[in-house]
């Protein structure tokens, strides 16, 4: 009995019906497959990806693609993905963690890292296969890149033209400080600033763009100016002509300040100018990462949506060999897996999965809306998907994006439900699920879950005892009776080290009552320059 064998003739394309408008796959010469990548191949893939991205009107910074080794990838991890970083032990700690996990096979390294700079630098790992290189070029160099360029948070808060220069400046400046003041001193300041970095972010004022040269000359000016101002603030020498009646005490600061690190930099009484500059560097970098922390779902979702869409388009055009497409789909599926809450591998809501699903859902609502979609999203159901997607990408952050675009269909798909965990109740309570009465609550709760203002405690500077013991008072505005984690005592120590005098922490409960939570006193250190040490000595002598 003969086994049926496919002959080459049977594999030839046969045209029985009318010739289709799109060329059938076999007539376009696909890009070479295989798993080994070469520079020429990556270039050819990149050219096609760029063409498709152009068709979809993705607006990007120019790209710069760099191939690096696994070890270099671990280096990049240690510096938050930045190509340059200043010297600090915590980066060493991060490197050791990554290395340990990677070498023991607990984790794979990212296939790429992309930097919000202009040109947009993407690091590709040499270990990647050809298919992986293609997917990460689409993901990073076109997905993330266009997000960096388009999203309002990044446009407002980051300066992609200046960031690399600033990092070089920071590295040099901190190295110079180590030379001059000793590594331990610098480390102490950096430790303290790192503890406050998350509260070193301006939310309302817009930063300016500066180059390295400007930054350096400005720094010198600032150094002189700041010191002069601070001295004036803490001036305690008796005035020549005392006022007739004492002025009513001026509250300082006049309004609560949210940017702790900025406040320290500008107003700490006994910091040296270089210490203020270090506080500033840490603050600036925290500010640079601030948009990323607020757009995890949007950013990753956007990049994932585009690598998927671009790859799918290339495949439909017949350019991708089946083997490459299979590998791409396999890896894509892994990326967007969302295990349920009771699954062993559950690690929170997967930003990639949620973001990807939301962008696809928006496209679906635009292209083929259901009645439900029309009810929920009357303003964009049935509109041009490309424009709606672009609008969503540009004008939202995770919190508002979810609140605006998460559809009931998607909540059902993810089977999202809402649980209240109240330490005064015996049991957890399911407050809403993916049904008509629950959609809004689930959506609002999920949106809040991604809001930085919910994730991080609200702590502000409320007063400084200018004429008394110079103590600094912070207030923690408590929400839902949630306490601070115990680490706050250590943070307060760091703050006290920077401030130089006693620091206090008060807690404002939801009923408005204020209680004093913590106080961290500072032993006066010898040898610290105190602006008015001479004045104190004088007073003592006359007693």
């Amino acid at each position: 009995m003969a086994t049926p064998v496919l002959t080459p003739a049977q594999l030839e394309p046969r045209f029985d019906g009318p010739i289709p408008s799109v060329l059938p796959r076999q007539l376009v010469r696909p890009l070479p497959g295989g798993s080994e990548w070469t520079f020429e191949l990556v270039e050819r893939y990149e050219r096609e990806i760029a063409r498709v991205a152009g068709q979809y009107r993705l607006d990007t910074y120019p790209n710069q693609i760099e191939i690096i080794s696994a070890e270099q990838m671990m280096d990049a991890y240690a510096f938050n993905g930045m190509p340059v970083g200043y010297i600090h032990w915590s980066f060493g700690k991060r490197f050791l963690t990554t290395e340990q996990h990677y070498k023991r096979g607990h984790m794979g390294l990212a296939y790429e890292i992309v930097i919000n700079s202009n040109p947009c630098i993407a690091y590709l790992m040499e270990e990647n296969t050809l298919a992986m290189q293609a997917i990460v070029v689409a993901h990073a160099s076109y997905g993330h890149n266009s997000f960096f360029k388009g999203n309002y948070l990044f446009r407002t808060w980051t300066q992609p033209d200046a960031i690399i220069d600033y990092l070089v400046f920071a590295r040099r400046y901190i190295a110079a400080c180590e030379q001059r003041y000793g590594t331990l001193e610098v480390e102490r300041v950096l430790d303290a600033c790192h503890a406050l970095a998350n509260l070193g972010v301006d939310r309302y004022k817009r930063p300016q763009k500066r180059s390295l040269a400007q930054e350096q000359s400005l720094q010198k000016e600032r150094e002189a100016l700041l010191q002069a101002q601070v001295n004036e603030l803490w001036r305690t020498l008796p005035r020549r002509e005392p006022d007739e009646k004492p002025e009513p005490e001026r509250a300082f600061p006049p309004e609560p300040q949210e940017n702790l690190l900025y406040f320290v930099e500008k107003h700490a009484p006994v910091l040296e100018p270089w210490q203020r500059e270090i506080a500033r560097i840490v603050r600036k970098l925290a500010q640079y990462f601030y948009p990323q922390r607020q757009t995890q779902v949007m950013n990753e979702g956007w990049a994932t949506f585009w690598h998927y869409t671009i790859m799918q388009t290339l495949y439909d055009e017949g350019l991708l060999p089946d083997s490459v497409m299979m590998e791409i789909l396999h890896s894509h599926t892994n990326v967007i897996a969302q295990p349920g809450f009771d699954h062993d591998r559950y690690g929170g809501i997967n930003s990639y999965a949620l973001g990807f699903a939301m962008y696809r859902d928006i496209r679906r609502i635009c292209e083929s809306p259901t009645d439900e979609d029309r009810r929920w999203f009357p303003d964009f159901a049935g509109s041009d998907w490309r424009e709606t997607l672009d609008f969503a990408m540009r004008n939202f952050k995770d919190e508002s994006f979810i609140a605006q675009f998460l559809s009931p269909g998607l909540m059902r798909e993810f089977r999202l439900f809402c649980v209240v965990d109240d330490d005064q109740a015996q049991k957890l309570k399911v407050s809403a699920i993916h049904d008509d009465s629950g959609y809004r609550l689930v959506r609002d709760t999920l949106a809040r879950q991604f809001a930085l203002s919910e994730r991080e405690p609200n702590i502000q500077v409320v007063s400084v005892d200018v004429s008394g013991d110079r103590s600094l008072t912070l207030r923690h505005y408590r929400q839902n009776r949630r306490p601070l984690a115990n680490t706050y005592k250590d943070v307060m120590k760091h703050l006290a080290a920077l401030w130089g005098f006693t620091v206090r922490l008060e807690t404002v409960n939801e009923d408005g009552s204020i209680e004093s939570t913590h106080e961290c006193r500072v032993e006066k250190r010898k040898g610290t320059a105190q602006p008015d040490a001479a004045a104190w000595a004088l007073t003592d002598a006359f007693r």
């Binding site: 280096d75 969302q338 809501i349 015996q426 408590r478 984690a485």
Partner: protein
């Protein structure tokens, strides 16, 4: 099209400096961890790279964050059976773990921070409190390379290895060989010229030909790249030599864990030293209290026994082991003995005699450390007598880690000269 740049050749390990900072900052903890690792290691494996763990709470980077407690509401995926209003028994560890990616740093988190130390870093920490001289540290840390010895000449190499005499010899030979025809012709012409009568018209013709021959010879380059010769070096494997190291330890009740740890470090150091000098090393563990026994490493360090102490039994056992398994013609024998100095009074003179007459003539080196704060006892006295007779015996009294190296100093100094 976007530029694609190959950065793989760029410097790796840019975080090396940050790692050093990290290790310096947590020096005390790392040292402790290394000490723990040493305890768990076999002597022959002491100089390996290692995964080290130190308490994570020490290297916590604190930030303000929410703690557990209060009221929070989270959204979770993957609902199967719940409807609104259901109540769930609070699971251990909290249901809302990691929701929204905002896991609190104090809530979860491992209690140990693990990382990797390279062999060099590990040894560095190991040596740190043993007060080794820097030179010895390097000596022990660097893995000995095979020797490179002169091995003839070759036609390529670095200019510093140019063998001038050899090159010139080649140049001369080449010039002679290439000019052979011309020189032969010149000789012929000279002979012919002599036979010619003066005024012969052929003379001028011959003179011209001679001139062109001479010019031809002059055109041969004095030195050509073809002549260059460089000194060659070949890698010669180290001599194959084998050594056996006897670790003798008193395991009577008075040897506590701390003393055993000191003894172990002493053995490791000696082993590291031997590792540099011998291709193959056997380690034999002899433990003794009132009787002696050859055991494996595990039993050597970990099982405890009580009873009196008779040292000579161990020495006799070592001697018989040497006789049976490690003939001195084939093996370099080293003995390291650690004890707290207790011995039966009658036994000590026997030990001295065994040492002087039997053991010391057979072994390369015998080291003895007495781990004790008290006044030296009779065993020490007898060993000192032996020391007066034989030079290959080193004695030392050890109270802390830094005391170990001086015992071995002489051994290290001696071998360094070789």
């Amino acid at each position: 099209m976007s530029p694609i740049i190959d950065r793989r050749a760029n410097d790796r390990h840019r975080s090396a400096i940050n790692q050093q900072r990290f290790l310096r900052r947590y020096r005390a903890q790392v040292r402790e961890a290394v000490a723990r690792a040493i305890t768990g290691r076999k002597i022959a494996e002491a100089d390996r790279d290692a995964s080290i763990s130190i308490p994570a709470r020490d290297l916590h980077e604190p930030v303000f964050s929410h703690g557990a407690g209060g009221r929070r509401e989270v959204v979770l995926p993957g609902n199967r059976e719940y409807v609104a209003g259901d109540e769930i028994v609070r699971p251990q560890g909290g249901l809302a773990r990691g929701a929204g990616g905002g896991a609190s740093p104090d809530g979860e988190g491992e209690d140990a921070f693990r990382f990797h130390l390279s062999r060099e870093e590990f040894l560095d920490f190991f040596f740190e409190d043993m007060a080794l001289p820097d030179m010895v540290k390097t000596q022990l840390t660097v893995i000995a390379q095979a020797k490179r010895v002169p091995g003839g000449y070759r036609t390529y190499g670095s200019p510093s290895n140019l063998a001038v005499a050899r090159t010139m010899r080649g140049s001369l030979a080449r010039r002679l060989a290439l000019s052979a025809t011309e020189r032969a012709r010149v000789r012929e012409i000279d002979e012919e010229l002599e036979t010619l009568a003066p005024g012969d018209p052929r003379a001028a013709q011959l003179q011209a030909e001679r001139g062109s021959m001479i010019a031809g010879i002059a055109q041969i380059p004095f030195i050509d790249s073809f002549d260059l010769r460089y000194r060659n070096r070949v890698v010669q494997p180290r001599e194959i030599a084998q050594a056996v190291m006897f670790c003798i330890m008193d395991v009577s009740g008075s040897m506590d864990e701390n003393r055993k740890d000191l003894a172990k470090r002493f053995f490791i150091l000696l082993h590291l030293f031997l590792l540099r000098n011998y291709e193959r090393i056997e380690i034999v563990f002899v433990r003794h209290h009132s009787s002696a026994k050859v055991v494996d490493e595990d039993e050597f360090f970990h099982s405890t026994e009580s009873g009196g102490t008779v040292v000579s039994g161990a020495l006799a056992l070592t001697l018989s082991e040497i006789g049976e398994r490690f003939p001195v013609e084939q093996w370099n024998v080293y003995v390291a003995q650690a004890s707290d100095g207790d011995n039966w009074d009658d036994d000590s003179p026997r030990c001295r005699d065994l040492l002087v007459n039997e053991l010391l003539p057979r072994v390369q080196y015998f080291t003895y450390v007495e781990i004790n704060d008290a006044e030296p006892q009779n065993l020490w006295m007898r060993y000192e007598e032996a020391r007066a007779v034989r030079r290959n015996l080193a004695l030392g009294r050890v109270r802390e880690r830094a005391d170990i190296y001086p015992v071995l100093r002489e051994l290290f100094a001696k071998k360094r000269k070789v």
